[in-house]
């Protein structure tokens, strides 16, 4: 980055309030063309909110935004777009039922007048995609695309609109490391062309790898700004949390002979058989590029998906045709992939969400009558134990920041000390401290003799936690790695489909 480059954006004392709550508190900073700036902070620190101010989605209570020399008290969506500010949201802003090209046409007169020229737009998309080495079918419906593909579409959409300031809100949360590297290459290329990039991530190594500078936010306030060259991961995490984060210690594998916990025979996800046995006291990692059958595997174990000819043995119990309720009662718990869809009721309180699957059990109810004090007590316990940051336990679940929602889901999954925990992307969107905390919880389950099926897109996470790793490709296991051959190289090879 060129320190003499033109200033693309500067913020002066920007403050955002939601009611009485100050989400962003007097933040000032300056971003130059071609600079890649990381924005770092705990869950709920205010990163997304600040970015939404820039995209014209949130009106600041006070402060000033200067973009390419002109100052504004607030931006609206149109203005932000016309200034060349493009944002890729955590929740993608695409109409799932539309094709990629149709999504690109929305609100963009350049794509044709009364009748948008979809063919021309598709051709332009293809050309742009080719320039950045993306593989995107402009005529595919967005809902049929994988998550990384949707993200590429989002980025491409911002570029197509001529973004000169590109905001990426936790883009790597849904990407595998390889995919993340692809993204970084692209971001670097854009920066080289003069695009300023704001990059939000909870992964310090990514920041160290990609960014020029870092802005650290804590509880809405800017607590420090560093050049990446002049700082370290340790310093950044200290800045972010206010203290050091303890290292993760993984106790060694037990030396006793493994005892099976779950045996699946005759499993077939549509591309041939795959047998699976999970042992007590192990973390079994599942690697694979997105869409390799991980989710189907978890859904089958959970009973959400039925398959003929499957024999399901769980601790000597035959659960083949069992209902989800029976499986939960038998000690299987899950952290689902999409918490908004599958794991939370946004309108209900955090306390209610914490007992969603246990409401029938004592002490939360007795002969069908709900025991509110018991639920309150459980909520207080879980909120304290999992450090859920929120205003009140009666707060609707939907009003928590994403990271804190994830903690609630985790707390619920772990509450009954499950014998088998199906953890799908358990740390997605979590900050450093929270991620560390989740990992410790998984290890604690393992130490207690339970088994964890850990689905993750992050190979480091898998490598540091798993006892074995099953690598999925095309809905089958391409291989199962054990302690000795668990290496990045082997993982990468198998994930690509090599035998």
């Amino acid at each position: 980055m060129n320190p003499k480059a033109e200033v693309a954006l500067s913020l002066h004392n920007v403050t955002v309030r939601f009611g009485t709550f100050t989400a962003v508190d007097g933040i000032s900073t300056t971003l130059r063309a071609g600079e890649i700036r990381a924005v770092l902070g705990e869950n709920g620190a205010g990163k997304s909110t600040l970015m939404r101010v820039l995209a014209g989605q949130v009106t600041p209570a006070s402060g000033q935004i200067t973009a390419f020399g002109t100052s504004y008290a607030k931006l609206d969506a149109d203005l932000a777009l016309s200034l060349g500010i493009g944002m890729v949201y955590q929740h993608f802003m695409q109409v799932p039922q539309f094709t990629v090209a149709e999504n690109f046409c929305l609100g963009l007169p350049r794509t044709g007048g009364v009748i948008p020229n979809l063919r021309r737009t598709a051709a332009e998309i293809a050309a742009l995609a080719a320039r950045y080495g993306f593989d995107i079918d402009p005529n595919a419906r967005v809902e049929t695309l994988s998550v990384p593909a949707q993200q590429r579409v989002e980025i491409l959409k911002a570029l197509y609109r001529g973004a000169r300031i590109l905001i990426l809100d936790e883009p790597t949360a849904v990407l595998s490391p390889d995919e993340a590297q692809g993204l970084f290459a692209m971001v670097r290329a854009l920066a080289a062309e003069g695009t300023a990039v704001l990059f939000i991530s909870h992964k310090l190594h990514e920041i160290m790898d990609l960014c020029d500078s870092v802005t650290v936010i804590r509880r809405g306030k800017l607590v420090g700004e560093r050049q990446v060259a002049d700082t370290s991961e340790a310093e950044l995490s200290r800045l972010m949390v206010g203290s050091d984060i303890p290292d993760l210690t993984r106790p060694p594998t037990l030396s006793v002979a493994p005892t099976p916990l779950l045996t699946l025979r005759g499993l077939n996800l549509g591309r041939g058989p795959l047998d699976l046995t999970l042992h007590k006291g192990e973390i079994f990692g599942i690697a694979g590029v997105d869409g390799s059958g991980q989710i189907e595997l978890v859904e089958t174990i959970m009973g959400l998906r039925r398959q003929a000819g499957l024999a399901f043995d769980f601790l000597g119990q035959d659960l083949t045709g069992a209902s989800i309720k029976t499986r939960l009662a038998a000690g299987i718990a899950q952290i689902p992939e999409d918490r908004h869809k599958s794991a939370m009721v946004a309108e209900m309180s955090v306390a209610d969400n914490l007992v969603l699957d246990r409401i029938e059990q004592p002490p939360f109810s007795k002969s069908g009558w709900i025991n509110t004090p018991a639920i309150t007590a459980e909520a207080d316990r879980a909120i304290a134990a999992f450090d859920v940051r929120m205003q009140a336990r009666s707060q609707p679940m939907g009003s928590l920041s994403g990271g804190n929602q994830q903690k609630v889901v985790l707390a619920r999954a772990l509450a009954q000390a499950p014998q088998l925990l199906l953890a799908v992307y358990p740390a997605r969107g979590l900050d450093l401290g929270a991620t560390r905390f989740v990992h410790q919880q998984l290890l604690a389950r393992r130490a207690a003799g339970a088994s964890v099926l850990l689905v993750s897109a992050e190979l480091e996470e898998l490598l540091s936690l798993s006892d074995r790793i099953g690598v999925m490709f095309d809905r089958r296991f391409a291989g199962i790695l054990t302690e000795d051959d668990m290496t990045m190289a082997n993982l990468g090879r198998l994930m690509a489909g090599a035998a």
Partner: protein, 346 residues
Amino acid sequence: MAKHILGQLAAVVIAFALSAVLILLAGKDPLLAFGAMAQSALGSANGLSETLLRMVPLALCAIGISLSFRAGVFNTGAEGQLYIGGVTAAAIGTALAGTDAFITMPAMILGAAIAGAFWSGIAGALKLRFGADELITTIMLNYIAIFFVGFLLHGPLRADGSALAQTARLTAEARLPVLVQGFRANWGIFLVILAALLASLYLWRRTGGFRLRVVGQNPTAALNAGMNLQKITLGAFLVSGALAGIAGYTEVAGVQRRMIENLSPGYGYTAIIVALLGGTNPIGAVIAAFFFAALQVGASAMESTAGVPSSLASVTQALVVLCLLARNAPVLLRNWLARHTPKTEA
């Protein structure tokens, strides 16, 4: 809270001011009309009795609708369920003529509830089995119910020798007793209170109600939490149908004393407004039903006393609802003014 009630009051006042303009346009006296309205709906023992009487079917249907909406079931079929419940109650009541009231009354209530639940259950089964949208099926089932009842009353259930399509008059044991001699309000009100209390307890204190709310708000999460979606959804259909069926019973046993072809002036549809005005809350539904009943009873008195055309009575009712719903309007106005008045900065 106080501010909230004040706001509601202001809304009602505005609605009446608007109606007053229309009444003047019709060449009638608004003060006379509103006086008659207040007097006949709430201002006299008979008025209160009439309001309570009308509240019963509205409240029963609205409680059921509230429960079904909470479960994510858009049951707009209370009208038809009411007819089916009513005709069943009348059939049982006439069949048991002369039997002790201790047997007749429970039999009629139970019969009406089961019949209403059955009718609603058809829509439920179609939804679960074929994914048929209940908005369509319940609207269609309303028409079918009314034609079917017409068939029964013209044919098999018609009273001997009656020129009219109606069942025989219920004997005293089969009727719902009045609360106070000389007034029409009847024991149906106890059914309302009972239903509202049970429904509230169920919704907020019972695990079943908890599950119902979860299913209504996020079915996928409910599924993942091990809940039986089909059972809960069907249950919501059945319970709301049963309550509408009981509303049919109260009309037959308490008001008409037989089954007639035009049993309901759209109670089942009005109850949708009532349920939503009451915040899909059983107690709220009762309060809203009382309010709406008073409004309807009062509105018709505007016609009989002040000569206001009945069409304006419906306009007045609609205006009251619309003004109540416009509670965000003052905020909007303030924001608009704030945006459009130049700031004077020091």
